[in-house]
Assembly symmetry: C2
DNA sequence: CACAGATGACGTAACGTTTCCATGATGACG
DNA sequence: CGTCATCATGGAAACGTTACGTCATCTGTG
């Protein structure tokens, strides 16, 4: 049915080994022989069988990617840059999607390993890495992206969410806000805890009133949750003058909810997002946000993994690394001084205008 | 190093074949034996080797996906729904990215086949299917998505771009527009030609002035091209009162360009997009557009492919199908009557208000 | 009791590569 | 001219699985 190496060998009258070497660029083969083999291969429409090669040589040239959501540009940009870099190095990408389910996550890990991928890039769905370690029992290199788990022996590439959150809050405080609400994500994720802890650090530093700065944990980072959370904030925390949506999709939902209530951004309410997808600056108003260097992060992830794959087993013990990438605050038009700024100012000038002075 | 079937066989004192059958659910094995095998497998941490199984059984349980761009939500939503459906059927998805390069496209096709994927979902980068046919020489089922090529023997699932364009134009004409510009994509793609031909059909039907309705072909469907094209339209075609950007990203770019010139949408210029990503209704103003049922299309694509894969070779000759999906016009706030509507109306009332009457 | 049919297990042959080892052939060098 | 290294090639083993033919054992039946 399908022509194999053996067919080519018979057709040329050469041995199996010779043909294999000729086609795979081994040096020890006469140039003329190589030409002959190549001609025959072309003529017979030979196409080498990657499965057999992978089985025999124990390298599949494919690496697995597990992300929680294929429709979230945060992960697809990662996938894109990783894919680009890996393709250049001769690797295929097997993309799986965990839908944020830890069970599916573990299962996918198993499937990938079963299919002998050479390495895995993983966005873990749970901070508990023990299952992960068990599933990944065999020594296949893993790099965690964006989120980290407690799994030992794996590298991770993450954004400095803690710092980003703090910068955002500082920006709001500098504008005069004292009551800031956070629309957070699922409480288990490292991204959520980092963003919230950055927020809280900035709150403490600026002596913001704890009960005036609610943190709303939710089921996801989606727009819908952003919308729901915003309604809740408006209903239950009338003092809030700025909303920090810890995802761009959440910010989009928040924007919708605010519009629905007839509130103007930033006049009636300041709004900040997190991360900077391409569409964020075409919203009205363009959103202030914190941008992470996703390209650099993706590239580094792929490089790190390739390095682990290629490093001779001997010098293995190099410590697992955690690479944390800084981002930058992008100030657009969705943040401004609160309406009640004058009032606040008169009450506590010191804290509001010069929070860093002490 | 890694425990294999043989290890399990030795450990249980059973034969290789028996162990294989026990683990793969073959009926002819004593329940107790099966339990024994499973226990041993668990104890030894056995993980079957997918490569070997694929090689031997000639089924890899993986299917390839080639899309032009991993950062375009149009393709990633397709990838997402396809991935979901296939995962449920026990298939993995190998995602490749052609970057709209025909050469890369062909090469990827080859790589996928070399790795013996069971089927391929393909967004072709060129209308010329001859290379494709040559690359796909072996009989692996292929379904084309979104775009179609001249390759014979492959099914395709596409949106009815022609009709959608025509509907959009009709909407604009109904509002009173007579000078409509199209920001088209690359001229070779079937999506481009379909969208343009729908546009032209609607123009003819409504007797729009040919030279007043420029079509701008460009290098891509990107926001940047949308921006450039819009500038060009404003400079060279001052009569134009409505812009039809044949992609949502292009529309985003157009919006930017219009803002930069201080033109209000839809007061000074009507703007329509194509396709309906989640962020499109948070733009200002929310864009009128034509929505395609991407979920249905993705599902159908996967189903079609699975069907081809599973259909016994005997009944093969079922004709390749072209499935064309209708969408729907979503009228938001970016379209309105042109400023000069009254003027136009007085000049040609009949054409403008009752175009369908003859 | 002999025998057909079912059942469960065994061993071996593939699947298509790569890789290693053995074998001639060739050329260089003292 | 003999020795040794180098090179080109052939052949076979191995990778880990599934599939197939064979065989022993057991059950029920005439």
């Amino acid at each position: 049915m399908m022509t194999t190496l053996k067919d080519v060998a018979e057709h040329t009258g050469l041995g199996l080994g010779t043909v294999s070497r000729a086609l795979s660029g081994h040096p020890n083969v006469r140039p003329e022989t190589r030409r002959r083999v190549e001609a025959a291969a072309r003529k017979l429409g030979y196409q080498s069988n990657g499965l057999a090669r992978a089985l025999r040589s124990n390298r599949s040239n494919s690496i697995g990617l597990i992300i929680p959501d294929l429709e979230n540009e945060f992960y697809t940009t990662a996938a894109s840059v990783v894919q680009g870099l890996l393709a250049g190095e001769g690797f295929r990408l097997v993309v799986s999607c965990s839908n944020n389910s830890p069970d599916v996550d573990i299962e996918l890990l198993g499937t990938l390993i079963e299919n002998r991928v050479d390495g895995i890039i993983h966005v873990p769905c749970t901070p508990d890495g023990s299952d992960l370690v068990r599933a990944a029992n065999p020594r296949v290199p893993i790099v965690e992206y964006a989120r980290r788990s407690s799994a030992r022996g794996v590298d991770s590439v993450i954004g400095d969410d803690e710092r980003g959150s703090a910068e955002i809050v500082q920006h709001l405080v500098d504008l005069g806000h004292r009551n800031i609400a956070v629309i957070a994500g699922p409480s288990g994720l490292s991204t959520t805890t980092d963003r919230v802890s950055g927020f809280e650090r900035a709150c403490r530093r600026n002596r913001l009133p704890k009960r005036g700065c609610p943190v709303l944990y939710g089921p996801s980072y989606d727009a819908h949750w952003g919308e729901v959370a915003t309604s809740q904030i408006l209903d239950e925390h009338p003092d809030v003058t700025a909303i920090f949506a810890s995802s761009s999709r959440g910010a989009m939902g928040a924007l919708k909810a605010l519009r629905k209530r007839g509130l103007a951004v930033p006049k009636d309410m300041s709004l900040v997002g997190f991360l900077n997808p391409a569409w964020l600056d075409v919203s009205e108003p363009p959103l202030t946000t914190y941008e992470l260097p996703l390209n650099d992060m993706g590239n580094m992830t792929a490089r790190l993994l390739l390095d682990r794959i290629r490093r001779p087993r001997a010098e293995e013990p190099s410590e697992p690394q955690v690479l944390r990438f800084d981002g930058r605050l992008i100030i657009r038009e969705s943040t401004a001084a609160p309406r009640t700024y004058e009032l606040i100012r008169s009450r506590s000038t010191l804290d509001a205008t010069a929070p860093r002075s002490r």
